[in-house]
């Protein structure tokens, strides 16, 4: 019967359609920086080997990551904006926040550096130079951790750059990579996390101009989504991944991840969550 | 006589107007004879429209047309309609005939023999597997008639069935029509061809500009036409507006 063959084809088709079905998995919503840099692709298999739990990574900005967590669409979130994280926990959306690792932000821009920021010592002065010279600056504008950080820096410098939006201040509303592509094309300055910057391949007209200043510290934390709001949250599996991340093994895995010989993330778990 | 159930065909004050134009103007007559009735007239006389009303494809605005006191509805299997330009399904010749049988819920067991018979009758047996749309004009018209004939209707209405055929095609179709008429099927057919009317008609309805000018037996019509219009038409003259 030709119908039997048809049935077999249909069966194979639908079984392969949801390949991870039946396996235990958790959904981690992370920032684009950890995904674009390849960190999670690198360390998740190490965790899976031990625990037999797969981690599905959805990469979005910090703002949307928190929204997804709030709606119960993720089991845990890996984000990098302390003030938002604390609010997320205090509102009861998340529990057991643990700091996992850090890297830092850098300011990149055209090699000619028309705003002369490369000789500044303080981040805020560098930004003031850009502001005063009205040099093109590309902002994420997407409510991500990097965007929030950038807005904080402007505020700390006492500058309102957003009023020049569309003039020399450009809001892309896009991910870090897309924003770097745009900065590259425009010959503009932008704030990037170092991980994305180092692993970013299309930087023919961009160079690193400013780095190594305490305000540029970039702390990543993991937060479990509160199972009281969402009973379907796989809290045990999620917790075991969180515990692994802050364990010696997990921290070592983060430290071992390099891109072109450079370490992108620096583990700094404080052993227990706060 | 088996025509008893469908005849007479009666037109009563039959009128149709479209967009303010009178297309059929108060037709009154009765067709009682078996044989072949030809609706004759120049282009624009209203022949096709009259035929379509006889199959229920169009409705009159006034008066009525009835087959033995029944107003026709399309799809009654005792009556079949043959269009001048047939539309065939994009299937084989065989499947096109099968489709009609299926529409009329003829049991599968009879289907094949009915189709074979219809194909045989119309000389299409060799072409059963061919796609209907690739047939020549003459073959298409034969299939058209086979499709109408397959349900053995008591009445077959044909709208200028040979208008687009070459002389040999015309002869074949006319032979087919004669054969069908001899099997006790009432034929009503439109044509603008005098020769065809002469060859086939037993009675003639002569139409001009929506009016029924004459309705007589074919012999009388051609030997002693009553009206000037009919005389002129038979003489091959252009008909003026009267």
């Amino acid at each position: 019967m030709k119908y039997r063959l048809l049935k077999v084809i249909a069966a194979v088709y639908f079984l392969t359609l949801n390949p991870a079905m039946g396996n235990s998995f958790i959904t981690l919503v992370s920032t684009t920086s950890t995904e674009n840099s390849g960190l999670l692709d690198n360390i998740v298999p190490k965790f899976r080997e031990q625990s037999k739990i797969n981690v599905r990574v959805v990469a979005v900005g910090t703002g949307r990551a928190m929204k997804l967590g709030e709606m119960g669409d993720a089991d845990m979130i890996l984000v990098h904006h302390r003030a938002s994280e604390e609010e997320f926990v205090s509102k009861g959306f998340g529990i057991e926040r643990s700091e996992v690792m850090y890297n830092d932000f850098v300011i990149v821009g055209p090699p000619e550096d028309p705003a002369n920021i490369r000789y500044e010592n303080r981040t805020l002065d560098a930004l003031s130079q850009i502001y005063e010279h009205e040099m093109p600056f590309v902002s994420r504008g997407d409510d991500s951790g990097t965007h929030k950080k950038e807005l904080e820096l402007w505020t700390m410098a006492g500058l309102n750059a957003q009023q020049y939006s569309g003039n020399w201040y450009h809001e892309t509303g896009a991910g870090m990579g897309a924003t770097l592509n745009i900065a590259n094309a425009m010959g503009a300055y932008t704030l990037s996390d170092r991980g994305t910057w180092l692993s970013f391949k299309n930087r023919d007209r961009l160079v690193l101009l400013f780095e190594d200043d305490p305000p540029l510290h970039n702390q990543y934390s993991i937060i479990l989504v509160n199972p009281e709001h969402h009973p379907h949250i796989k809290i045990n599996e999620a917790r075991s991944f969180a515990n692994w991340l802050v364990s010696d093994q997990g921290q070592q895995a983060i430290a071992d991840f390099t891109f072109a010989g450079q370490q992108l993330f620096f583990p700094n778990a404080q052993s227990k969550h706060r | 006589m088996q025509f008893a159930s469908v005849l007479p065909l009666v037109f009563q004050n039959l009128g149709v107007s479209r967009q303010g134009k009178l297309l059929l103007d108060n037709l009154n007559t009765t067709v009682e004879s078996a044989g072949t009735t030809i609706i004759l007239g120049p282009n624009g006389a209203g022949k096709s429209l009259l035929l379509r009303i006889a199959h229920g494809l169009d409705l009159p605005d006034q008066g009525s047309l009835q087959w033995n006191q029944q107003t026709p509805q399309p799809g009654e299997p005792w009556r079949a309609f043959v269009f001048q330009k047939p539309v065939f399904l994009q299937r084989s010749v065989y499947a096109n005939l099968e489709y009609v049988l299926k529409l009329n819920k003829i049991g599968k067991t009879n289907c094949d023999s009915l189709i074979r018979e219809a194909l045989q009758h119309t000389g299409l047996a060799e072409l059963a597997a061919r796609s209907a749309r690739t047939l020549s004009g003459g073959e298409q018209q034969r299939l058209n008639i086979a499709r109408a004939w397959i349900l053995k209707p008591k009445v077959m209405l044909l709208d200028e069935p040979t208008a687009e055929l070459d002389p040999s095609g015309v002869a074949t179709i006319e032979m087919l029509i004669k054969a069908i008429a001899q099997q006790c099927t009432k034929i009503v057919m439109t044509t603008h061809s005098l020769g065809q009317a002469k060859r086939l008609a037993s009675d003639i309805l002569f139409l001009h500009q929506g009016r029924l000018i004459e309705h007589t037996s074919a012999n009388l019509f051609f030997s002693q036409p009553e009206t000037d219009l009919a005389k002129d038409f038979i003489a091959g003259k252009l008909l003026n507006n009267h």
Binding site: N36, N181 | V87, S131
Partner: protein
């Protein structure tokens, strides 16, 4: 131009070495979009035909909606499907978000209106041609739909693949409801978006070239089959 030739040779290289990740992504792309086309056709073909042939309450509104929905931005579709499938949404308990099934649902919403609207036009045209003849033969209005759908099957395949083209090429909807999860919901378009954001323009372009080749292959296979079938009947 150098970028293009490099991307092109990279695309060829990825194909000939049967890159495992690539095969996985291509397979999922095809599965999602072909399934979406099948389901969208099961909805769109009868719906389009019914809108062409029958008069019923709300028909005009439905036609207007279909024509509008033909041009729906995928992102909007993605967002709406996300809100429905989210754990906090009405169908959240199904747990479908970030699965291929969710991507299929989004693509069905995206292309069912296209298939329906195109089918409506195809059937309208066919009805002009066939209606008198079929009516004279005694076809009932209910049977007309099946007959006309079958008669126009070659055109309808083209309509379906207009839908397929849109499904396989869109990124907005599948990104939102699928999440671009590696080894799980990553398809050609979301992979291209990811590689672009990683700044790997060459790889992104190579994937783009492969996507076009894939689309071309599927379309040629279907059109070839259509042509062969057409030849048998005509």
């Amino acid at each position: 131009m150098n970028d293009f030739s490099q991307a092109f040779s990279k695309a060829i290289w990825l194909i000939i070495q049967l890159d495992g990740d690539l095969i996985e992504i291509v397979t999922l792309s095809l599965q999602v979009s072909l399934t979406a086309v099948l389901i969208a056709s099961m909805i769109g073909l009868p719906l389009g035909a019914a809108l062409a042939l029958y008069r019923f309450f709300g028909r005009g509104l439905l036609v207007a909606m279909l024509n509008t929905f033909m041009g729906l931005p995928p992102v909007v579709v993605g967002l709406v499907v996300y809100l429905i499938l989210s754990r906090s949404g009405p169908l959240g308990m199904l747990g479908l978000l970030f699965t291929p099934t969710a991507m299929i649902i989004a693509q069905v919403c995206l292309i069912a209106p296209i298939v329906a609207a195109l089918t409506r036009q195809t059937i309208l045209d066919a009805n002009d041609e066939y209606h008198e003849q079929l009516k004279a033969l005694g076809a009932k209005p209910s049977g007309l739909m099946i007959t006309l759908l079958w008669e126009t099957r070659y055109s309808l395949v083209t309509n379906m693949f207009a839908g397929f083209g849109r499904a396989i090429a869109e990124v907005g909807a599948v990104l939102i409801v699928g999440g671009n999860i590696n080894h799980s919901t990553r398809v050609m378009t979301t992979a291209i978006a990811l590689e672009t954001s990683r700044g790997d323009i060459e790889l992104a372009l190579a994937l783009g070239i492969i996507l076009i080749m894939l689309s071309l292959t599927v379309t040629s296979v279907v059109m070839g089959a259509r042509h062969a079938a057409y030849k048998i009947y005509n």
